[in-house]
Amino acid sequence: MIETACAIAFVAISAAMLLCLYRVLVGPDMPTRILALDTLTINAIGLVVLAGIYWGTELYFEVALLFAMVGFLTTVAYCKYILRGNVME
C-alpha cells in the first residue's frame, strides 16, 4: 500500500516540478522566477523524502536538509541581488 502511494506521489510531484519549471522558463519577471525556483526546491525535498520512504533508507535526510538550507539561502541571495545590486554589503 505504501509503495503504491509512493509511486502515485512520485508522479504528482514530478508533474508539480514540471509546472514550476514552466514558470521558471516563461515567468514574465524576475521575482516570479525566484519564487518558482524556491518552489522547485521544496518539491525536490518532497521527492527526496519520498525516495527515502520508498527504498526504506534513512540516508536521504541529510540530502533533504541540505536542499532546504541551500534553497532558502539562494532565494534570499537572489532577492538581495535584484534589490541592491550585490549580495554581501
Partner: protein, 131 residues
Amino acid sequence: MTEFADIAIASLIYLGAFFLFVGSLGLAKLPDLMRRLHGPTKATTLGIGATLIASMLYFFLKGDVLSIQELLITTFLFLTAPVTALMVAKAHLLLDKSEAKNLPPTGRKVGWSVFAAPSAPQSERAPSEGN
C-alpha cells in the same frame, strides 16, 4: 506494521503529494505575482509538512526509533517559507512601480512601510557611517 498504520502513512503521503501539486499548479496558473505567492507559501508548505510527518511515522513504526531529522527539516521549512514570501513580495513591490500608485493614502505622517521608511531619529544615526 499494522494495517491501520499502513493506511495512515499512505493517506499522509497522498495528502502531501496532492498539496504539493496544488501549490505548483497555483504558481503556474494564477495571473500575477501577488496571487502566485499564495500557492507556494501555503499549499506547498502544508504538503511538505504532511510528507515529512508520513516519513517520521514510517521510520518510527519500522525501527522504533524516533528520528529527529524530519522535525528539523519541518521546523526549518516552516520558519523559512514566510521569510521567502516576504523577500519575494518586497522585491516585486520595489521593482514594479505600478503597485505603489494604486495604494490609498495611509492617513498618517509616514507612508506605506516598503515605499516610505520613516527616517531614523538623529541620536540613533551613527555619524561615521558615511550616509
